[in-house]
Symmetry: C2
Subunit: 173 residues, 2 copies
Amino acid sequence: MVQEALVALILEKGYDAVTVTDIIDRADVGRSTFYSHFVDKQDVLFSNLDELGFLHLAPPARSGELFTFSLPMFEHVRERWPLVQALLGRRGGVGLVHARGEQLLTAVVRDELVAAGARVSASLDLLVMCVVGAFMGLLRAWVDGETTASPSELDAAFRAAVEPGVRAVLGQE
Amino acid sequence: MVQEALVALILEKGYDAVTVTDIIDRADVGRSTFYSHFVDKQDVLFSNLDELGFLHLAPPARSGELFTFSLPMFEHVRERWPLVQALLGRRGGVGLVHARGEQLLTAVVRDELVAAGARVSASLDLLVMCVVGAFMGLLRAWVDGETTASPSELDAAFRAAVEPGVRAVLGQE
DNA sequence: TCCACTATCGAACAACCTGTTCGGTTATGA
DNA sequence: TCATAACCGAACAGGTTGTTCGATAGTGGA
């Protein structure tokens, strides 16, 4: 109830404007009960994030194919639309959740590129940052309603933008 | 004095933890004086952002060359390092400033691609989101100290990641 | 059924932060 | 010299946070 209340309130007022009093009022929960389960407003946000399982999508690392996480992740997001909107959108607790998402995705992308033969180096890290940035940017714009594209269209756009560059870098090694 | 105080405090405690009382204390300014010049804590943040002039870099649109904004912007950022760190870094007022930066950059990139012959369409917008995301991701990671690369190395990494994909899309039209 | 245990409630509280008001003080500049 | 503007800081009301505490309601085993 508390988690759902926070999501609803974020979508109405934005994360910053939501107070603990708002949450317990909406969730119909006593104040002391709230603080016996959660440390913070932020704690509720993160409990939602954990439940979402942003990293349930470890890529099976097929031969030759890059960025296998992309399409499944877009589809997973569509299934949990309001929740992701509250977590990742501009009205949400942007900084923190976005940071956590970037962190998880960075590890996935980096492993994938290394598996594809990339040499571990500082310039690989820069490449990974670009790829992750492109994906997160697309995702953020999507949940904020800046595009109405489907998951497969988003996946195609993501691949079209970054795959040629990545393959060119991989080819040089 | 107020602007500098906010920047210093953000780098120490993070934007959220900074209070107006902290700012006026650090800046040695009376409370009423603060509120006669600024509406908000956020107002101070934005006044800093305006002063930085994030969009002073309208590209001269040379023939054939893409993303002319990239290198000058990385260099500009290096000249105002602590300020940009406070504005754009994870400790800063991430959501708002990052959003404003994305917005400005989106217009720049979109115009550049259209000038280079891209057809205006929904898929162009998706491409622009990827390019902007990659650039902002790189910038954010840089100011947060996740890489020690130089502006020209960052520029090279950005171009290597996205230019092949963009040119491939442009070539199809 | 009885009882111990646990979860919940809600009122009250201190501490803090915000944004405003107001009377007094200081600087500016014509 | 003096009118104007800027500044100061104390005080204030209103709101938020996180804690405490005694009372109430539900749970599961003996």
